[in-house]
């Protein structure tokens, strides 16, 4: 008999996911990715599906504080990990509520990276944005922890901390595609939020001519 209840299948399992500080008990098809579990089962749709192949970065979230692609891992394998989605990166309630057409996305406090994306217009269509923001939050931590990138000049373990230049940001953020091409303002936003030395002033105003 065909059933809609995945628990009736021998290919499903009961798991507990820790997401944004809350525990969720659910039964998932073993084939379910973490991305689909969040989106289809927990109604946490801020994490986007852009390619389902680990090629675009739209589903980037934080697993135990490190950036990770939700489409490339199975939900059953995420049990016991601390998962933070875009809905959970800001203060309480930042990503909750807000009906269609609403001009607010909830009233909670924004993460500094979110605030910078807003002010520098670090997005256009917004679909890659949750992934860009989660990626940037973790990337800033990686850099602060001294992790080098492919464009870091001095990679000796004893090297002094390298500045988070725009070139470093671009290299480290390259797993997150933005087809609208908002890269310039994303890099400005990330640099501003990171408090990097190259910090730009504010978003430009007006035309020049």
């Amino acid at each position: 008999m065909i059933t809609s209840d995945p628990t009736a299948s021998q290919t499903a399992g009961a798991i507990i996911l820790h997401v944004n500080g809350e525990k969720h008990a659910l039964t998932v098809d073993h084939r379910t990715t973490l991305l689909d579990a969040l989106r289809e089962r927990l109604d946490l749709t801020g994490t986007k599906k852009g390619c389902d192949h680990g090629q675009c970065g739209a589903c980037t979230l934080l697993v135990d504080g490190r950036r990770s692609l939700a489409c490339l891992q199975l939900a059953v394998a995420a049990e016991g990990r601390e998962i933070t989605t875009i809905e959970g990166v800001g203060g309480s309630g930042a990503g909750q509520g807000a009906g269609p057409g609403s001009e607010s996305g909830g009233q909670g406090e924004l993460h500094p990276v979110q605030q910078a994306f807003l002010e520098f217009d670090g997005f256009q269509c917004g679909y890659c944005t949750p992934g860009q923001i989660c990626s940037a939050i973790a990337m800033i931590e990686e850099h602060a922890a001294g992790w080098p990138s492919a464009v870091t000049d001095d990679v000796h373990p004893e090297a002094a901390p390298q500045p988070l230049t725009p070139e470093e940001i671009r290299e480290r953020m390259s797993g997150n595609l933005c087809r609208c091409g908002a890269y310039m303002s994303i890099v400005q936003a990330v640099g501003y939020a990171a408090g990097a030395r190259h910090t730009h002033s504010g978003p430009d105003e007006g035309s020049a001519a």
């Binding site: 675009c56 989605t85 217009d121 256009q124 269509c125 890659c128 595609l177 091409g181 994303i186």
Partner: protein
């Protein structure tokens, strides 16, 4: 109450204040917190999931669909294909009278016209079950020989009119060529390119109270609703389409098989069904930009004045649709010449149907034309900017109509000043930075500016706030924010008091987010409604509990426009670094100066213009869909195999504009959605020529192509210059 206000009067009280002031997006907080719900994010009770099955052959017939085994799989509730699917029409006039995309007629017969044609839909309780069913469905085919081999040399190419005529010509081309002191005659090619908006196409359909409700990701809700009503032969008004947030479109988000399949399944099952394309499926279902093979012949006097501008383009279309990429059209409004000929031909092949993609025609066409201008400048010993300025027409080269603002000269002059063009040494291959060869290039840009009749409603509420309703789409353009500014200024209130509601076909007919004409078209409708509402409020009328609403329709006003050449213009500048050892090309900086009408919101407009220039980098260096002529399929049809510019590919890009209000437009808008792409790839290719001495006439400028050029033309500049005309790329 309805009113149609033909023209907009000048401000009579305080001048507008919001227009031209940078404002962050009104839906920005939703988008950065993950609260914004795109189509696939909206939960529905008893939602079923549909997964499409695509053909694995490039031409032939479906012999059998063995759906029994799939129907028995866990969770599968339906398998639709040509033997059991509801009937739809595909012969109705869609937008601008054009036929709808042929995938609208999916599951209607056993024909397979190309690889990746939709042949079935498997619907199941969960996405995993639907996907498993689709993967398991066995479709037997009777394959026929196919032909996907595109070339500009094909003898079966035929002229095809699109939104513009296939051919426009004046003068005696051969006589003027014979009289020309300098001639450039070269061919240029651009590859098949795919839109790839970050949000894959998705639609959810369900019936409610006798009405078809469709949640969809599209570029125009009322257009989509009208098309679905025609396809399923439903009464107009019984189909409602909503698309609150749209994750990019670029021309690809029209009525396609995902909405058709979702409606079919929702109708059969009488429950909500969502159909989303996978990224790989988008490569055959979502349209693409045709490859082009273009030939440009320029003839000029020794001082660079053009005698001949001849530009022919060949593109491909599918065997089931006649779509033309009008790549030769740019020259019709850029330069005049005594002999002027521009033409478009197509080759019909067993390939998916191409469609408009950001700056259709102009993006590939400007690469060829503006590269050829650069070649001509070199042969004339002229600065490329000076060459263009010497060929500035005073009226439309073919129409004779006056220009509704043409500020290309100002773009070049201001752009050259900011870019530091005056210090440029024109000799190729004489600048180095370590192992990198450096070069700079420039190109002109143009894109048409127009507005299409639309309807809008503006409501005043007793609490002093206002609501604008219009079936506009915000596909990342900032439309919601721009229209809030437009309405607020027309109402003479602060933008914070105006709520803009879009993306709902209930709001009436409106132009789509396309043609760089969204904001202009919607503003033409909103401005008079808001203006009339303000005048009524000024008379002291009482606002009822359900608000005071003024509706408008811009049809009459737009019909009264004087004929004119209405276009945006721009000057693109690029500096590249080329590694002759690896063939790598890096774009170090770009500057785009645009004359693109009045800018409503500098923050979002700049972002969009820069985004277009990013597309130029992507087009010049990266994007290339490779078709395997043996199987008729694409090689590497995903975001790993098809590279679009990433963060690391984009260094410093600056976009700015000169004052260029559009005469006759209520706000002065022209549009900024597409012109950023135009000319950008040519500026980069011209810069690569300047850096290396090698002319690349084939996009993208891949490392292997650069290396091939190096092996032929490498060595010090003197050597190549001694050969008179250096650097013909072996690919050309």
């Amino acid at each position: 109450m309805t009113s149609t206000v033909p023209a907009v009067t000048a401000p009579v009280t305080a001048p507008p204040t919001a227009l031209g002031t940078a404002r962050t997006r009104v839906e920005g907080r939703e988008k950065i917190t993950g609260a914004a719900r795109y189509t696939g994010d909206i939960p529905l009770t008893s939602l079923a999931h549909g997964s499409l099955v695509l053909s694995t052959i490039a031409r032939g017939r479906i012999r059998a669909v063995d759906d029994a085994a799939v129907r028995a799989m866990p969770g599968v509730v339906a398998v639709l294909h040509h033997l059991n699917a509801p009937r739809v029409r595909g012969d109705y006039p869609s937008i601008m009278g054009m036929a709808p995309d042929p995938t609208v007629r999916a599951f209607q017969d056993d024909r397979v016209p190309h690889w990746g044609w939709p042949v079935a839909l498997v619907v199941a309780e969960t996405p995993e079950q639907a996907r498993a069913g689709a993967d398991a469905l066995v479709v037997a085919y009777e394959a026929e020989p196919h032909d996907t081999d595109f070339s500009g040399e094909r003898t079966d190419a035929f002229a095809l009119d699109g939104v513009v005529p296939a051919t426009l010509a004046k003068g005696d081309e051969e006589a003027e060529l014979a009289a020309s002191a300098v001639v450039v005659d070269a061919s240029y090619t651009t590859p098949e390119e795919h839109h790839n908006p970050m949000e894959p196409h998705a639609a959810t359909a369900y019936w409610q109270d006798g009405r078809l409700e469709v949640l969809d990701s599209n570029q125009g809700a009322s257009w989509t609703a009208e098309d679905l009503a025609k396809a399923f032969e439903l009464e107009p008004g019984t189909v409602r389409v909503r698309s609150e947030h749209v994750g990019g479109g670029f021309g690809s988000k029209s009525v396609r098989v995902h909405q058709i399949a979702a409606v079919m399944a929702a109708t059969e099952l009488q429950r909500p069904v969502r159909v989303a394309m996978t990224r790989r499926q988008m490569f055959s279902l979502a349209g693409y930009r045709s490859p082009t093979d273009q030939r440009v012949r320029l003839g000029a006097d020794p001082d660079g004045r053009l005698r001949v501008l001849s530009h022919g383009s060949v593109s491909q279309t599918s065997s089931v649709y006649a779509f033309v990429e009008p790549a030769a059209a740019a020259g019709r409004v850029l330069y005049d010449a005594a002999a002027h000929r521009t033409s478009a031909q197509v080759v019909s092949l067993d390939v998916p149907t191409p469609t408009s993609m950001r700056a259709p025609g102009m993006a590939p066409g400007s690469f060829a034309l503006e590269s050829a201008l650069d070649e001509l400048a070199e042969r004339c010993g002229l600065d490329p900017i000076e060459l263009r300025l010497r060929n500035e027409p005073s009226a439309g080269p073919l129409s004779g109509l006056p220009f509704a603002g043409r500020n290309l000269r100002a773009c070049f002059e201001e752009g050259a000043r900011r870019f530091g063009w005056a210090d440029r040494d024109p000799r190729p291959r004489v600048r180095r930075d370590g192992r990198w060869l450096l070069g700079t290039g420039t190109a002109a840009a143009t894109f048409h500016a127009f507005a299409v009749p639309s309807t809008a409603a503006v409501t005043a509420w007793a609490d002093g706030t206002f609501t604008v309703r219009i079936a506009a789409a915000d596909i990342g353009t900032g439309a919601r924010t721009a229209l809030q500014i437009v309405a607020a200024d027309a109402l003479r209130v602060a933008p914070e008091r105006v709520q803009v509601r879009i993306g709902d076909s209930e709001f009436g007919p409106a132009w789509l987010a396309g043609g760089s004409a969204g904001t202009s078209s919607w503003a033409w409708a909103i401005t008079p409604a808001a203006g009339e509402l303000r005048e009524r409020l000024a008379l002291g009328v009482d606002i009822p509990a359900d608000g005071l609403t003024v509706r408008s329709d811009s049809t009459t006003a737009l019909a009264g426009q004087e004929p004119a050449e209405r276009h945006s213009y721009g000057a693109q500048f690029a500096e590249v670094a080329v590694d002759p050892g690896t063939g790598e090309v890096r774009v170090r900086r770009m500057l785009g100066m645009f004359a693109a009408g009045r800018i409503v919101n500098p923050l979002t407009a700049r972002n969009q213009l820069v985004g277009g220039m990013v597309w130029g980098i992507s087009m010049a260096l990266h994007e290339e869909a490779v078709r395997d002529v043996r199987s008729g399929s694409l090689v590497g049809a995903d975001l790993a195999g098809y590279h679009v510019a990433s963060h690391a590919d984009v260094a410093h890009i600056e976009a700015d504009w000169v004052d260029d209000p559009m005469p006759g437009d209520p706000i002065g808008i022209k549009g900024v959605g597409e012109i950023g792409v135009v000319g950008a790839a040519a500026a980069i290719a011209n810069a690569v020529r300047h850096a290396t001495g090698v002319r690349h006439r084939r996009l993208p400028i891949r490392p292997d192509r650069v290396l091939c050029g190096e092996s032929v033309d490498g060595g010090p500049a003197g050597e190549s210059l001694e050969r008179g005309l250096p650097g013909e790329s072996p690919d050309a």
